[in-house]
Symmetry: C2
Subunit: 322 residues, 2 copies
């Protein structure tokens, strides 16, 4: 066991057991969890790979740790679930500085603390090249009440939480001016995204959302999943999109960041016409951006021109948003 | 999404849903599992990293896939649990041959099928260098009945399943004669280890084991965990160790492979003196090899000489067994 591994285990042991769901964390072949009896169990896994999901010269280790867990928590939020425990598999090249590992673990445990989700286990190993983390989050949801991607019906309205495009627009600043790098403190939505657990849970408890997904790969890609799984199409009213403002600027980011930029970790959901949706949930703005229509296609609409076909563009972290 | 990713998802979708525990696998932000109500949940994660846990020139991809899942199932077995679903995170270098990926997935799904443990999700990504798999297995055990590492008491007998040393002795053949490589079909315990799920479950149901661990890091290291967690020591009677015979040979492997060789995936457990232990469980031999004693140390004993201190040696996959 390397110094890094020992350090991680000490940190994990220190904060395990604060959550009633974790009976036994580190120190056995498996972690033992006691989840709410009769609930369904939610499981999600997400890689965070150096050079693919983060760059060591762009992202401080604290942000990498935070974003690593945020990805998993956001998936639990998208099902309307409650997270209970996280598991971290971490592969490190032998020359990884101990200070990097410490700050990474601190960033991850800070978010874990905020959501009362103990790190209940995981694995560590040497990596032949590059830092590689795999986060797994286990959560729960009352039986048969998970919100899936497949419930959208023609006529439903489409909503998003928060603002869109902040994360991709921040990455774009790295590309456009390598000398002046965005500082993490001023670009929080990219470096320290907040998973929308409370909003997701509210939407499930109040039976508001007919389908839901988190915006990790960009609106055009994630909305397409909702359309494919529901066998429906969608119209997005361009003028209603809540474009983010970043870095203290009063000018919103470009439309393409909101349409195709990934890693906003906001929620996208659909709502039957009969259901009322509040303007905000727990301080997070909720905006109607369009509606579900027949056919499998997605369209951008505006009052002044013909509908334009919207194609899923996919999201490549270190490729500039088209 | 790469060809490999598409292929994996197609294979996974094909075999998901055969297990009643998986309500929704691939196609949502989380998998939804319905585990036995009121049971405790078991979670384990294990890396399989190229160059650390396997070598592409030594291990056929089918074996790598099999061993990847076997590691996770063996952890569930060590708690006396029942596995319900597996999750695979797989990072592949861009030049990984599709045939390699296909055979890897087949090896993994073959074992998954055998134990009725569907692959219910996971993640795929590009790897900067080397193939990297992270397997997660979710299982369950009746409330408060998981067998942990910490229950060994002074006077308990120590048992192991199967035979020891086969896996490390096979690896040693690669080192000693690089021209004549062990063929997978003749060295099954190394290339295709069988997790001891049924034995672990039997020991839990019959309340036989007071503590248990799987032999993944070698007897000296894993027994040391049992001693540390229980605050006890151990004596191993050297002459009783069930040494494996490999490759059709009638000669057992060297003692050091049984003491320090990893990846046998047998179970090591302790039993109170009042409890009777069968000679085999479900066709798997069970052998008494020593007893728990006072003090934190481990000793090798024999009728003809003084006890010798046994130190945990750790297990490095591609370092020759000392």
């Amino acid at each position: 066991m390397s110094l890094s591994e020992k350090h991680i285990i000490v940190q994990i042991r220190r904060q395990t057991g604060r959550n009633r769901a974790v009976i036994t964390g580190i120190g056995n072949d498996c972690a033992i969890l006691r989840l709410p009896s009769g609930d369904d169990t939610l499981v999600t896994t997400d890689f965070s790979i150096e050079g693919v999901h983060f760059r060591r010269d762009w992202h401080p280790p604290r942000s990498v740790g935070h974003r690593c867990l945020a990805r998993g928590l956001s998936d639990i939020a998208a099902m309307g679930g409650q997270p209970h425990a996280a598991f971290l598999s971490l592969a490190l090249p032998p020359d990884t500085p101990q200070t990097w590992v410490n700050a990474f673990v601190s960033g991850l445990l800070g978010l874990a603390e905020e959501f009362k989700v103990p790190l209940a286990g995981g694995d560590t190993s040497e990596s032949p090249s590059g830092i590689l983390a795999d986060i797994m989050v286990v959560g729960s949801v009352p039986r048969d009440q998970a919100i899936t991607r497949s419930g959208a019906k023609v006529g439903d309205s489409i909503y998003v939480t928060g603002e869109l495009g902040a994360s991709a627009a921040t990455l774009d600043l790295f590309f456009s001016n390598p000398q002046r790098r965005p500082s993490p403190g001023k670009f929080m939505r990219h470096f320290y995204p907040e998973p929308r657990i409370a909003v997701g849970r509210y939407l499930r408890e109040k039976k508001i959302a007919s389908s839901m997904i988190d915006l990790s790969d960009g609106l055009s890609t994630d909305l397409n999943h909702i359309c494919e799984e529901g066998g429906v199409g969608a119209e997005i009213a361009v003028s209603t999109l809540p474009l983010a403002c970043i870095g203290g600027s009063k000018h919103p980011v470009g439309l393409h960041f909101a349409l195709h930029g990934g890693e906003d970790y906001e929620l996208l959901f659909t709502v039957s016409p009969r259901v009322r949706v509040p303007k905000s949930v727990g301080g997070v703005r909720v905006t109607e951006i369009g509606r579900i229509v027949k056919g499998g296609k997605m369209w951008l609409t505006s009052p002044t021109s013909k509908p334009v076909l919207l194609k899923p563009q996919g999201w490549q972290h270190f490729q500039r948003t088209p």
